[in-house]
Symmetry: C2
């Protein structure tokens, strides 16, 4: 089974387990809408790639970690789209949860997804209960206070913010949790794998800033120019477009360097290169470089 199929099946199983008769139907529908169809599933892919690099001795637990991270990512998107943040009507080319189901169900779907993430982790720890506490800790640290994605989003409510702190928390934290949890779920040493996730996460956020300036709405599936119009900290605003692109390239190089030596290292390096090309195509960078020279 390829990794993406494995992820989709694990997500479906985790959600189906709680879709029993007697629950509120619209919340159930909102949760499915928030998770399927997904985006690139980059966080769970990272989790499984690292778990496989570490031997993947308990695939059910690696799946649970991957599912937890993706559900938390989906939860953050649902809440980010609320009127008090991005007020986004679309997400992944479809109506956002708040547009399709209304604000109350968007708040509740996000809440339910956070809960479901921890539920999935606990359900996956049947064979290795001794690994559960550290996994909950890793996943929670990537999400909550003081350095997780929720804290990252909260920096937008502060009068002063350091761009790198903001980006590290807002995006990097869940990537770092993805790599650390992947290793830990497979009995590896999670700490050794944090730097990879950390750098990839920052690269991803910078790529998002770049795409926010460059792309067209059809490619991103959400309105462009949001960062500037919302006055949000952005690498493209602070460094200029070509500065942001050079920053992105150095973060990707750093991520590749941070991959610990192991059997799966070359496969992981290829995955990072492929993902970086997907996020910020070389053709864009060349085009921007030409314009800067001219």
């Amino acid at each position: 089974m390829d990794t993406l199929t494995r992820i989709e099946q694990a997500l479906d199983a985790a959600i189906s387990a709680h879709e029993v008769a007697g629950g509120p139907p619209r919340l159930t529908a909102a949760i499915r809408h928030a998770v399927f169809p997904g985006g690139a599933r980059i966080r769970p892919q990272l989790t499984l790639a690292v778990a496989m690099a570490c031997g993947d001795d308990d695939p059910a637990l690696a799946d649970a970690a991957a599912v937890a991270l993706e559900l938390l990512h989906c939860a953050s998107l649902v809440h980010d789209d609320l009127p008090c943040f991005d007020d986004a009507a679309t997400r992944r080319g479809r109506p956002s949860i708040q547009a399709a189901f209304g604000q109350p169900l968007a708040v509740l779907a996000g809440d339910a997804l956070i809960v479901l993430a921890f539920q999935a982790l606990a359900a996956g720890a049947g064979r290795r209960p001794e690994r559960l506490a550290s996994l909950v800790g890793i996943v929670a640290a990537g999400t909550g206070m003081p350095f997780g994605i929720v804290a990252g989003q909260a920096w937008e409510c502060e009068p002063r913010v350091v761009l790198s702190d903001y980006q590290r928390a807002k995006t990097g934290a869940l990537f770092a949790a993805a790599t650390e949890a992947g290793a830990q779920a497979a009995g590896g040493d999670g700490k050794r794998w944090r730097a990879l996730g950390d750098r990839l996460g920052e690269a991803y956020q910078v790529a998002d800033d770049i795409r926010d300036v460059l792309s067209d709405p059809a490619m991103l599936g959400k309105p462009v120019g949001q960062d500037a119009s919302l006055g949000r900290p952005s690498a493209a605003n602070q460094l200029g477009l070509d500065g942001a692109i050079r920053h992105f390239e150095s973060l990707v190089a750093g991520a590749i360097e941070a991959i610990p030596e192991c059997a799966g290292a070359s496969r992981l390096r290829a995955l990072v290169r492929m993902e970086s090309e997907r996020l910020v195509p070389k053709a864009w960078c060349d085009d921007v470089a030409r314009r800067v020279v001219a």
Copy 2:
């Protein structure tokens, strides 16, 4: 140490653990504001009362379960007060989080509190890692889909709702989780303790409906008459005030009957009676009965 002191200290320790330098200060402040000073702390009191009735062989884990349930309760209050639900300006006699910190931080504080609840559970399971998965499962079931408090709140977004299903999920679920988790944290059989929490939770919700009609704003610390003005399902609306009071009394009697025989049973019965008097004072019931007869 009395139970309330034990709860306050455990809550403070769980929150302090994540209040390190470098986190977003306003979110940190909002989280504290949401948890301190608290209300009656009835859920964690129930958890500890049941844990003690079951021998309390791992007080750190019982504390963690109590903390998790109270943090989830606080999270639900923070989100319930949002403009898209109750739009409450006050809570516990002080500004609500959304009034004091704004909507974005109210959404994020609620999210962070949910995460913190599971983090606290994991941190408390150091001596008994084999109990963690079932505790996460119990606490998550009380909170998420399909029958937890988030699902209960979501019934307000459905065109049709059965009052008892709604109340069981909206309030009962976390009470049932409180008693079940208290037993499980102490190595007891959680299932035997669910009925107590279930009935108490329903009683608590009915009491809230009664108080919504009867009390003055100063006593409740939030605006009265909300259920009727928001068109929310309410026992007082459906059964009439004296019907709701009789329903409350039968639920309290059922809760007392549901307490399993054990060393701490009489202490628990007294706690339930005391709490029921605090929620719906006998003087009110007599007053309503007099008016019905007249």
